[in-house]
Symmetry: C2
Subunit: 351 residues, 2 copies
């Protein structure tokens, strides 16, 4: 009879056992506040009667904390979860949260703003990853919220970065040293203000450095090019709008299908995904790597290293970025901005 559709509460249990609610609460949260015997009895009875422990919603209201950390992603969740770099980042975050009994709530800055606001106040802290389309996202966040920015800066909050400019310089320098090249080109990732999936022309405006890390990568490439006798501004650039095979492929096809004497013989790519797409398409066209075409990537994703030829690239430890950001949010690490090192990977695409 009377199957209580309603979830059993702490109060019900207290009444049933003839003890006060405080005692039940203590049995679950502060074992030292009551006799082991009583605690045992309470826990046993709770199990028997189907009480699953304090309700998270009520507890979070009362304590003000939810043990939820939210990662706000610049891109859509769909993209972020499929992209090797950002999922490795998330994986790092999750690893730390896990050991600290926190959970991970995924939010995207792309979601409806009203919705974002609503969900946001649930979390105890925020890790914001990637460049924010609009800064008003922050207006949605609780005031004084714990916040760590990754791959960009937010005034008043610590951030985590990698050394994009030096790393880009290093890999471009490496490529240019390997063998003299005549026609270097740069493949950008989301670098123009205007939507541009193709050649970048003087008509395009580049995003400012505080809006995208790829600007720093470009600076590194340019510095290396200049040092090797090229006029950076004359090195052709193409831009891709999204770091996926599907979006990169047409742009890269256009590059590779240029006449032989115009086709670049060195592609400095801003991501491994772009470089791998170029690699696949170049192989399909019978181009020899690195003889006919030299390629460099950025990120160091596994896919580029578990294939032949191995991609020459820069490894950034996205997992470490995530772990560090998570540790900062949880107060396990002082909240100071940090710059992580990268490592040059000498693969086979650029000998």
């Amino acid at each position: 009879m009377s199957p209580p559709a309603r979830r059993m509460t702490l109060k019900d249990l207290a009444r049933e056992l003839g003890v006060s609610t405080a005692t039940i609460s203590n049995a679950f949260n502060r074992p030292d506040q009551l006799s082991p015997k009583l605690r045992e009895r309470i826990l046993a009875e709770a199990r028997r009667m189907g009480y699953r422990g304090p309700d998270a919603k009520a507890r979070s209201l009362r304590t003000g904390r939810s043990r939820i950390i939210s990662v706000i992603l610049a891109e859509s969740l769909t993209y972020s979860l499929n992209d090797a770099v950002s999922s490795e980042f998330l994986s790092g975050v999750a690893e730390v949260l896990d050991t600290q009994d926190h959970t991970l709530l995924l939010l995207s800055a792309r979601q409806a703003r009203s919705h974002l606001i609503g969900s946001a106040s649930m979390a105890d802290g925020f890790i914001v990853y990637g460049l924010m389309p609009t800064s008003d996202v922050f207006d949605s966040l609780p005031v004084n919220a714990a916040l760590v920015a990754v791959d960009f800066n937010v005034a008043g909050h610590p951030s985590v970065h990698v050394d994009n400019e030096p790393a880009s310089f290093a890999i471009a320098d490496r490529a240019l040293r390997a063998k003299p090249r005549r026609r270097p080109a740069i493949l950008n990732l989301r670098l123009t203000v205007e939507t541009c999936n193709g050649r970048v022309t003087p008509e395009h405006t580049l995003l400012p450095a505080d809006r995208t890390i790829t600007r720093a990568r470009l600076a590194g490439f340019h510095r290396a090019l200049a040092q090797h006798g090229f006029s950076p501004e004359r090195v052709p650039m193409w831009n891709v709008e999204e770091n996926t095979f599907e979006v990169c492929a047409p742009v890269i096809s256009a590059v590779l299908d240029l006449p032989d004497d115009e086709r670049p013989d060195l592609l400095l790519c801003m991501s491994d995904r772009i470089a791998l797409t170029a690699l696949t398409l170049a192989e399909q066209r019978g181009l020899r790597i690195p003889e006919d075409l030299c390629l460099t990537g950025f990120d160091g994703i596994a896919e580029g290293q578990y294939r032949a030829p191995r991609l020459t690239t820069v490894r950034q430890e996205s997992g470490d970025k995530g772990r560090l950001a998570a540790r900062m949010i949880l107060g396990l690490e002082p909240p100071h901005s940090r710059l992580l090192d990268t490592e040059l990977i000498h693969g086979d695409t650029c000998s």
Copy 2:
């Protein structure tokens, strides 16, 4: 002075504006309950005074719903986020939740049980993905919680599956038809009760079919092998404990390094990751694919298709699985168990 560290509440705002709390609440939640003019004024004042809208914690306690859907993953978050198949699944889930103004909370069945219980009661519904190590996970969940199981069954709840047995049969049949092979072998994914990263011997016990989908895949392989004149029980099997390059590599190396007359010439792999690892290692050893070694995968991950040779495999739409599960949880789809189709991909590793 007195910078109110405390977050401003709806009540504060009401007092400030000289209206009742109900009116403020309505302004945010039920626009039709008050004059547009008043609503405008309230919203404007709220913005001006820094009120970010109703607090999610309090709201969820009051309404009983949080707009949070939790995915409980059988594996660790770290693994799940890095694995192509499960992250595509999550991506599908996220896509649907996004459009329905819900958010995604990631939980792992591996986390400390007490923690899991605590966080669980926060969510409005649960999508359980992959095989549960222990069934007592469900005891942690709120009674009568909305729940959808993916890749396994939970009594009393709908599930989403893929046609593992027929798909495995089809691909094995395809491989065996392509060219007569003498020494087929099977590479399993977590199929033994005992931890086993290597050859499966008669001493090992296989997990029961209700504990792992790979059992169904094995059944499909065996049916095809029998049909082509092999005694399934005599076809050698190896097992890998985790679907990652690092864990697969030693096992596969051992297989490939067998003497020529013992080395399998057909590897039926239970995942693309396993097959791709085999492909990489085989290439490193100078084996020709498919002449010397024929390989099949399972999953159809992008990485296997964007390389040469393209992997012969079965595509399962993990994204669709996620979308469907999410739609069921949100009540957009009738809560009936579903079996999704797969598609045979004729790649180059098995001609």
